[in-house]
Symmetry: C4
Subunit: 248 residues, 4 copies
């Protein structure tokens, strides 16, 4: 009985430490900053094309920390989902952050076992490590909040922008098939043009194609800029609201 109570209280303490820190809880703050440091360290090898002994050891150590972190979070899942009880342990591995955590661990595990043979194939998976940082970012919380609030408007506007891009690509592909190897190239052209990035790797060369390209960009830039406008406006509102709150 005492042992069970001890385990529960220990698990509670682990949960408090592992979860995002309150300012007053020093151990929790230290854990968060350590994890941030480990995540950043784990990303360093991804920023280089070659591998060396140091990078291999960084990989081994950071993945161990990630595994411990994953276990800690899993065994305390019932504190996270307060009202789900034992079900929490089943639900936890399917939360977005748990999936990111798992995907951060898996490629390195393979690497440990198979001696970096799959290294090139696994490069992409290694990127999931960086997403672990999002857990600790307040700016990300804020922008996610804005996106959630304006979800319906954003969805409608993204649908519209996507539709306009597809339509432009389709017309351009029909007008000037020689400039594009495939329909995908036309989509790429439309996105690069309508976001006004304009690399200059693909552009219309025939007169008809240029005329359509001009009409398309003149009309379409407004439509493709709508998501940007909505996010900016939503962010400003969020700022003003929190300003008003703090002024009261």
């Amino acid at each position: 009985m005492v042992i069970v109570k001890g385990i529960i209280s220990m698990r509670k303490r682990i949960y408090e430490i592992v979860d995002i820190a309150k300012k007053t809880d020093k151990s929790s703050s230290i854990y968060d900053y350590t994890m941030l440091l480990i995540i950043v360290a784990s990303i360093v090898p991804v920023c280089f094309k070659t591998s060396n002994v140091l990078f291999i050891w960084i990989d081994r150590i950071t993945v161990l920390a990630f595994i411990l972190d994953y276990i800690f979070r899993w065994v305390t899942a019932d504190f996270k989902f307060k009202d789900k009880g034992a079900k929490s342990f089943l639900l936890y591995p399917f939360t977005p952050f748990a999936i990111i955590d798992l995907l951060s661990i898996l490629p390195s595990l393979t690497a440990l076992n198979m001696g970096f043979k799959l290294f090139r194939l696994l490069r992409l998976n290694k990127v999931f490590k960086v997403l672990k940082i999002l857990r600790y970012s307040k700016s990300f919380d804020l922008i996610l909040n804005v996106i959630m609030k304006e979800k319906q408007a954003l969805l409608a506007v993204c649908y519209l922008a996507g539709g306009y891009i597809s339509l432009s690509a389709l017309i351009m592909f029909s007008v000037e098939p020689d400039s594009f190897n495939s329909f995908f190239d036309a989509i790429y052209w439309a996105v690069v043009t309508l976001t006004t990035v304009g690399y200059g790797d693909i552009y219309p060369v025939s007169n008809l194609g240029r005329i359509f390209g001009m009409v398309s960009s003149f009309m379409g830039i407004a439509i493709v800029a709508l998501p940007t406008g909505i996010i900016t406006a939503g962010y400003m509102n969020e700022l003003n609201r929190s300003d008003n709150k703090s002024n009261r």
Copy 2:
């Protein structure tokens, strides 16, 4: 008498099904989604450069569906224009969507008859199929609504942007005729520059041309961005208004 009544009630039912669905009418919803699927299927062959037997059969089947849809809509036109009576059947083929519907059918008809000899020439016409989707798009309705509301402001602003683009092109063409094959090239340069796309396929190389290009873009980007600004602002107003309505 009974037959006439039967035909009228059948035509009414057809109209209810063919026209945009109310949420409660299941047949109408099914018809709409089926048409959407057929439209999307009919566009697939346009996204590829080569043709094959599958694409030919997709074309044949989808065009049949389009013809039936066209006939259904035409024979129930009097329900659409409630107060025009028999005149509706004369007016209907000249409504924008009826023209799009016809243009979606015609190229495929030729294709059926002439064995795809005119295939390349007709590529562009095939694009009209995609415009049929607009009938089912609420986002398009909303943006069309915004454009209609701000029509006068947008017209004035597009006139201004068009004028500025022409003026810039004319001056640039006079300042640096060697960089442009024709006046059309200068117009193309002005649009690509003032929308800030900037592919980099045409740009001024002489000092005088560069100076004018800098002045022109510094002053002109604001003017060419006005339509974007008006559409964004109009869209935001529309959103806020519908938010206020639903909140009351």
Copy 3:
């Protein structure tokens, strides 16, 4: 005495016709539309690189019309400046539109006399013809109105943008002198980058240059976008105000 009165009333009538039309005055409207047509016709030869007999005759006829228009406006200048009396005839040639009118006539006069020997040199001057259109453009009036109203804010902001561009160019020219033939090239790079046009004809290649280029564009785009923001906001205000007026 009667002759003097006749001349005055005739000059008054000429002024009414030549000046921008009220809707009720048909002769004046006709004069305006004829002048617009002549201006557009006079620009057509500028849009082509080669000259031919037709273009020479268009030039001769349109310049005659411009000369008559210039004389009409000059001899009725006292109606324009209502309170200046005889001084008006001295002041008129120095008004902006009178200068544009004169510059539209001069190159063609030389052309008449010297047989197009100076044709290439005079290309640029020919562009002044197109500025004559501004007299008849309401959109131009509106935007000029906005610019005048926000004059102080725009000046401050343009000064800031100009300063930032110069500073960026200076630093870039010092950081990476090999990519730029002269300081003018660096200014050109800064304008093309900070307006986000980005042709790709000049860009930093050294690491230091790229770092500075990134910092400069990340911070500077906001500053260079300020004039665009002010003009858009000013235009919106103007639109809302005139909407409110017409709603009352």
Copy 4:
């Protein structure tokens, strides 16, 4: 005693002249405009790649003026920091503008001594001269004011934009390592793309890279545009507030 008083009153007068002018103080205005002229003159040699006798003499004379200006400001520092007393003379050299002033002088001093051997190395330092202009710019004051006011919002948003740029670069570098020589190249690509400059010197070529590039720019432009939006909005607010004040 009289001498001390004389020195104090002389120092006070120097401070009044050297510091930014009130409109009524003519000597101070003259000093400011002379310094502006000297600063501009001192920048001229930086705008050219070659050096000549004239530029050497401009350098010598302007650096003398800068040294005098630096001494004047230092010995009157106690008037600037009104309540710090003698400590002012210790604090002054560490104020931002004093550092800029010193950095404007140092490279030219070396130049005087060493006969331009280090000329190329010192090019960058010479740019600090131009920053001296900021002391006299009211537009810079205004924008600095806006930045200070929105400091917290801007910091959060820049953090977000920086994070998004790093994330994009990391994923792109993993997806398509062949297009980028190093991770720095990927960061450069992300900045050039997400600010929509799009030079076209680095861009994805593989299909996977292009898909990610499209998704990244479609979502990221909004986030990278947030600082621009905040500065524009803050500047507009500042303008409106000062308008309201002057209207009261």
